[in-house]
């Protein structure tokens, strides 16, 4: 039987942190946090082995609440700090948690290069298609035509697909879920954390306060219902036409491949450098 919410809360939330948290009622961030904790529980990792690094934004506050080695970095840079931590101490299990603006706008360069570099890191990207904390401006994943505080006439730019972007950039493992599919989300995070190499889990989430309300989708429940409707599994998507997939969210594992992991490759470099020195 999976552990109860209360058991997870007692085990992983920081009792000395002065709550409440910053998230709005109904925010998907809590679901993602729950999914992460269930995955970690199943993996039976020690708290000391885990480093959770975030950028800035609503998602950026998640590490504050959790009793791991936690780091709240500058906007867009979580993956760069995570890279330093992992390279300095490869024994640590490093997870970067980011929002869509964080990971793909200001941090877009770091995301593609982290994927290309293929260190053994896990990136969880909470994609709610908006800058929530700063008041609802458009992000690189805001859909064309949407209304935001900086696109009141309708958004004229086109959205990134985070998952497809990171597949192309060379990540070892890429998967997508929504916060409606909470059980799938924790399975995907578990797989990502076990996978050697750079692993990305994109989780489509709701910002009903900034996005749902303005775009007349409704409250948190309405947004979750819309994710349920839009979702199609990778298997089913393979049988569908491109046109049919236009407004759908493909969920499941999009890429899972074995590529050389640079954290491991660097061990070889060290051996080579040492033997060269000994020859001298």
């Amino acid at each position: 039987m999976p552990p109860s919410i209360q058991a997870l809360t007692h085990k992983y939330l920081r009792h000395n942190k002065r709550f409440p948290h910053v998230w709005c009622p109904g925010c998907g961030n809590g679901i993602v946090m729950g999914a992460l904790l269930r995955a970690i529980t199943r993996l039976e990792l020690e708290k000391d082995e885990i480093v959770l690094a975030s950028g800035i934004g609503c998602s950026g506050r998640m590490p504050t609440y959790l009793d791991f080695n936690t780091l709240h970095t500058t906007h867009g840079r979580a993956l760069t700090f995570a890279t330093g931590i992992k390279l300095a101490n490869p024994a640590l299990n490093v997870v970067a948690i980011m929002g869509d603006g964080d990971a793909t706008a200001i941090g877009g360069n770091h995301l593609i290069h982290a994927a290309r570099r293929n260190l053994n890191l896990t990136a969880i990207i909470i994609n709610n298609s908006i800058y929530g904390m700063t008041g609802g401006q458009y992000s690189p994943t805001t859909p064309f035509g949407s209304t935001t505080t900086t696109s009141v006439y309708g958004h004229i730019e086109h959205a990134f697909s985070i998952a497809e972007l990171t597949v192309t950039a060379g990540a070892s493992f890429v998967a997508r879920s929504t916060v409606y599919h909470a059980a799938l989300a924790d399975q995907l995070i578990e797989q990502a954390m076990m996978k050697p190499g750079f692993a990305v889990v994109e989780i489509i989430s709701n910002c009903h306060v900034q996005y749902g309300r303005r775009n007349k989708i409704g409250n948190a429940v309405d947004m979750l219902a819309s994710f349920k409707e839009q979702a199609v599994t990778v298997k089913r998507a393979a049988t569908m036409e491109k046109e049919e997939l236009r407004d759908k969210i493909t969920i499941g594992v999009l890429a899972d491949r074995d590529l050389p992991v640079s954290t491991d490759e660097y061990k070889r470099i060290r051996e080579q450098a040492r033997s060269k020195r000994e020859e001298k």
Binding site: D48, T70, H72, T73, T80, I85, L87, A88, L92, R274
Partner: protein
Amino acid sequence: MTEAKRKRCLLQGNEAIVQGALAARCRFFAGYPITPASEIAEQLSVRLPAVNGTFVQMEDEIASIGAVIGASLAGVKAMTATSGPGFSLMQENLGFACATEVPCVIVNVMRGGPSTGLPTGPAQGDVQMARWGTHGDHPIIVLAVSSVLDCFTITVKAFNLAERYRVPVIILSDEVVAHTRESVELPLNSEVKVVDRIAPAMPPDWYKPYQEDARGVPPMASFGDGYRHHVTGLVHDQDGFPTQNPQEVEKFHLRLSMKITKGLSDIQLTKKYYMDDAELFVVAYGSVARSAMRAVEEARQAGIKAGLLHLITLFPFPRRTLTPYLQQCHSVLVPELNLGQISREVQRVNQRQCAVVKLNRVDGKLITPHEIYNRLVKLDAGRVG
């Protein structure tokens, strides 16, 4: 057993920085290639893996300092090296390292600016940026190197200060120092004094990551060694959690400043030449200090009572060292490869006791000993007349 013997070697400044970093037990470098700092990255990419360290070339300078801070949080001494434009990009994360008290070393081999500037021309235009480039009030230590031997010893010193005070330390070099080759005798690793950060001694449950000790510097736990804690660039309380409580916010700022103030005598490094009986003197740093040294020697030979105060620590500015000489002398000459970034500090400290004279070059060329000498002669004559 044969005793290890010091060897003489022909090195350029950038190579001596590499030697100094390794001697100080730096084991992590992340950087992005930029002239005239690239040799530091190139050499460390070869040498770090041999000592079980790590080199990584990142996608840009922002990523480089991010990785450096991450590595330091994981318990490894870390550095990066760059030049002006790259240093500009690093500013935000530099502020992060100040706020979170993460020891690290950033070398800025200055080149002409602003913008892409003069990639291979010497300049000292980043002095005030090193002090105030990132937003907000914050402590920082800025050191300047003027010779190849300096590059070694000051780099070791930079790591030691970073670890002792939990603060980023900036080394300002310039193109002349970086690429000039000199024959130097470096100390053996066993002769180099290396300072490490203080690890917490209390049980993990008792650890408060930002609780000050008598020096104002909290012990520092590394990620993975059992002291789970939170690190954030937000203003935080002594437990490391974000706070907006005015008392805690003020305490945060004051402690950051105070820890540096308490260490001033340890941090503020200067060298004095002919200062005891000087009637006029030169304040100089970096490659310009070399020209100034020669000029002062020539002035002495010509019977002028000139001296040189060679600054190694630029910030915190060594006010207490300078003040007595401003009272003793009638004039001070501040030659710089910028339009007067340290002369502002000298003027600030001076309080109109002594004539502060600038000598500036911003054409990508060195200030020669001759130029400084001529000004000293004029200053001396002006007083006599």
